[in-house]
Amino acid sequence: MNLSLKNEYFRYRRYFTNLSKGVGSKKISSFAWLSLSIFTVSFFSLMAIRPTLVTIAKLNREIKDKRLASQKLQEKIDSIIAAQAEQAKYVDFFPLLDEALPGKSEFPRLAYFFEQIASSSGVQLKTLSFERIESDPKSFQKRPLLVNSFNFTVSATGQYLTLKEFLNQLEASRRILKTETAFFEEIKKEDFSELSLRVSGQASFEKKADQKESQK
């Protein structure tokens, strides 16, 4: 066995090389140590330094984002404080807003308003009708706005000037009323004729939060 190994060695001797000669060389030794050092640096950079640097970058970005969010929230807080100051300035006028845009349909008050202006302008109120408002929340689904409205029709008779005054007072109401049509008509009776005014429009009221919630 040993003899055959020796024979084989002699046969393939030219393919072998003596490492001791190379390792002993100073230049090759330097190259080897340099390569080993670079490999070590690469390995640790990849396994230890890279995750650390990535974490640092992530935290830096998070700090930047949070700082920006904090700045925006501070702006919002400042605007809310300014709004509170502005609200305190006009707090005495807020009941007027409730009159202009009430929380409910408040049609009895509207009827009373028509009676008031009719008596103050000297006309005779003939008919007054309001659109029926459904209490079912489904009826609000087609109206995504914060303001609801209902139709009204009022007719009155009197002289031209008094009817005109009635119309002027109606348009100058504190409550938001939208006049859609207004037309005069002469009604002939047996021995005299009278002038009639027919006004139709819309009265608005605010959609309350619970109504908005029930739509969702």
């Binding site: 990849l46 929230l73 919002k76």
Partner: protein
């Protein structure tokens, strides 16, 4: 032959180091430019306009009913 192989190993090690540095740079770049979910929603960051139009109140006050 011996000289060539040691030089080749050195070149490979330098190349490895270069790729490692590039990899680290790209990882950091990706982390910094990654689009993440916003901390606050647009509704939360919406700033209110604190101004109130005082003329509206004056106009309402002038009206009788």
């Amino acid at each position: 032959m011996k000289k060539d192989s040691s030089q080749q190993i050195l070149i490979i090690s330098i190349l490895t180091l270069t790729i490692t540095i590039l990899w680290i740079y790209l990882s950091i770049y990706r982390t910094l430019n990654k689009k993440e979910k916003a901390t606050l929603t647009p509704q939360e960051t919406r700033v209110l306009n604190p101004k109130l139009d005082g003329t509206v109140f004056e106009e309402l006050k002038k009206r009788k009913f």
